[in-house]
Amino acid sequence: MILRSLLDRKSNSYSLAGSFLICVALIVVVLLTDTQPAYTLPVYNVKAIPAFARKYGLPCSACHTAWPELNYFGMAFRDRGYQLGNDRDSPIWQNPSYWPVTARMTPMWHRESTDQQITDTATNAKVTQAGFDLSGMDLWMAGTLYKNISFSLLPSSDETGAFHFENAFVRFDNLAGSQWLNLKFGHFELDNLISEKRFLFLSANGGLYQNFHFIPVGDVNNFGIGDNQTGIELAGHDANSYTRYSISLLSSTDGGVGFQDSGGNNTTGRSYDWYFTFTKGFPTGNLGVQRIQPFFYYGNRPTIFNQTVGGDVIPATGTGNKSFYRAGFQGDLFLGKFEVLPFFQHSNDNVYLANGIPANQAITAGMQNAIWNGGFIETHYYWSPQLVFLQRWEIVRMSQQGLTTTPGTQGNIDAYSFGYRWYPIMFSRAGLAWHNEYSIVKSIGIVPLSGNGSGSPPITPTTPVWSSSLIFGFDFDF
């Protein structure tokens, strides 16, 4: 009611005064709750493609609930291979000068703070940083090479300008004339109903799903279900993309290139992983479409690295594969303008992975599989296509540590984020969002996942580390 009273609605628009007041009111709330401060600058991987808006003349909101998150129509468009299906999708119909490229970046001010850090002067220092800054940059090209042949190429940089390929694939759509047969080849995002690449959070702590990247203490597995992987995907969908499936065969490198893993390490093998998803949407009248997606990922990682040159492991020669899996479900539920995104994941890493032991060595007493569960509930309220309020509560709980001597709570995470995005400019050429977010994470005995590697674990494994982010900035996409 308070928010509503601040708004002066007329002709479906918000008055300047109302818009200004809502900005300020929410920001004040954020400031007042900034009790725990954080510190690193994330590389944002969230995506939207105004190149498509320019190609088809549709506003951002046609494909996005709030960009970059896809709505029903955007999901169907993506599933069709970036095609509307009106016989004008092939580039032969475009002006020869049309170039399907989009650039996205976020100038910002942000404040990061983490406590329990070991510095030169203290073992439990609270480190706080703040200032104006830049995010990384996406330079995304995507579209169709011909009717029913689509592609995506995404060179993405961190905030220093160091580039990597976030994705690069070719997709053959509607094979044999069937929308149930689409084959993707290359480096791509897993078919997650809740996409970390398209979500609405940007801060160092809130700008990632903890569950998508969490690895227990002592575990050498590098897999994250939020990491883009390299391989092939067979996928299909019905006409409105309410029913979908995806089967992926992926190299066991966590999306690394040059036969290395995603961290640039040579400790890789020649095994393959599998990922299975099935999505079903249920229209529920006024409420919208309710989607659920069970998923299952089964993978292997090598544990023996005997072949070396000059002492360096030769990539993709690892042996002694040991398995792991992730299983759970995701959802995308609507209650009118209110969206709920539930996620649950059960994870299990083989004892050899959990303890970093080569497969040709004996397991010692106290070693066991690492098992954990996690999940989150994220909610969005779409006041209008140009204003969305966000919040997310996320937990990770260790169920069984790789070593029985490890404290049972070490690695547990509690995270909470909230904020809003306001799109003052949203039309068929480009987009601009005013983004304000606060995020706080409590992780026990580990370096916060939001850290850039410079952080340190607390002095004891049972000490909680609090890390927080406050960010406001202009997120623009052209």
Binding site: S11, N12, S13, Y14, L16, S19, F20, C23, V24, I27, V28, L31, L32, D34, Y56, G57, L58, P59, S61, A62, Y72, F73, M75, A76, F77, L84, G85, N86, D87, R88, W109, A239, N240, S241, P283, G285, N286, G288, V289, G336, K337, S384, P385, Q386, W422, P424, I425, M426, F427, S428, L432, W434, N436, F472, F474
Partner: protein, 302 residues
């Protein structure tokens, strides 16, 4: 809550900075002031009521928000087809203020039914910028139809026409195809669509719609589906109702139902990119009867 000086300084500096940034954002905002003729229009799709504006109870302003989300870029906030993107689109977006619609089940000159508009939104229009909106829920599409109807006073004055009756399709025969071919010639369909159905008849380059915009006749040889559907029934309906607002007239007064079905069967033979049964039958007959077909449009040629 006791505010320390440090906390107060945080608060004040943060307030100033954010207020400044927020003010910039506010002044930069682009609004779409959607201005329909009426806010009371509804639609009915298979028992589901669509509303452009809220009913004062559970549902907010649904249709207008959906229109703002999906449609305003092309059709414009006034619904007159002059959205920000219209100048780049060919063919131009529909002008809802005149309430003239091409794809209908109702006679020429009448308003379409809600189901006609629902089918159009669901199907989209091939070779145009209007996509299929099937991914939206039925309720959303019903709300959008109510919004489309809100832009013209005609919906308050007139009622939709009565859908035409489409008789059962007779069996496909070569005689039916050949009769259809004669009608295609006699009715001078070829003048626009061309003798081979390539959309290159002698009048093709002169055609405009009611707004004066150039318009191309349908090219049967490349099209996988028609603008107003893909089935034989859809094709029958198209030339019995006409495409209002375009040079394509209704032939309901000059063509009998059997003749219309003959024409449907022949038009299918023009879709050479598809393997239609009509085309197979026609090609078989032509191979067995070389030189017996008179070229279409020959008598009218100078």
């Amino acid at each position: 809550m006791k505010l320390t000086i440090k906390a107060a300084s945080y608060f004040f500096s943060g307030f100033l900075v954010l207020a400044f940034m927020g003010a910039i954002t506010c002044f930069a905002q682009i609004d779409h002031n959607i201005t329909p003729y009426t806010k009371t229009m509804t639609s009915n799709i298979h028992g589901i009521t669509g509303r452009a504006y809220g009913d004062g109870q559970m549902r907010p302003d649904v249709g207008v928000q959906l229109f703002r989300r999906y449609c305003v870029g092309c059709h414009g906030p006034q619904g007159n087809g002059e959205g920000e993107n219209a100048s780049w689109i060919d063919p131009k977006p529909r002008d809802f203020t005149v309430a003239t619609f091409e794809c209908r089940s109702t006679p020429t000159g009448t308003l379409p039914t809600d189901e006609d508009l629902f089918d159009s939104i669901t199907r989209g229009f091939v070779t145009t910028n209007m996509p299929s909106w099937k991914a939206l829920t039925v309720q959303d599409r019903a709300d959008l139809i109510a919004m489309v109807k809100s832009f013209s006073p005609r919906w308050e004055k007139d009622k939709p026409g009565t859908p035409i009756t489409i008789p059962p399709e007779p069996a496909l025969t070569i005689e039916s195809i050949l009769r259809g071919r004669q009608n295609f010639d006699k009715l001078q369909c070829w003048k626009c669509h061309g003798p081979e159905g390539h959309g290159d008849g002698p009048s093709a380059s002169t055609l405009t719609n009611d707004k004066g915009d150039p318009i191309r006749p349908y090219n049967f040889s490349t099209g996988t589906r028609f603008k107003c559907g893909a089935t034989n029934q859809d094709l029958y309906r198209i030339f019995m109702t006409g495409l209002d607002g375009t040079p394509m007239p209704s032939f309901a007064d000059v063509v009998k139902p059997d003749e219309a079905w003959d024409l449907v069967h022949f038009l299918r033979t023009l879709q050479v990119s598809l393997k239609t049964p009509e085309l197979a039958l026609f090609r078989k007959w032509v191979a067995a009867h070389p030189g017996q077909l008179k070229p279409i449009g020959q008598e009218q040629a100078p």
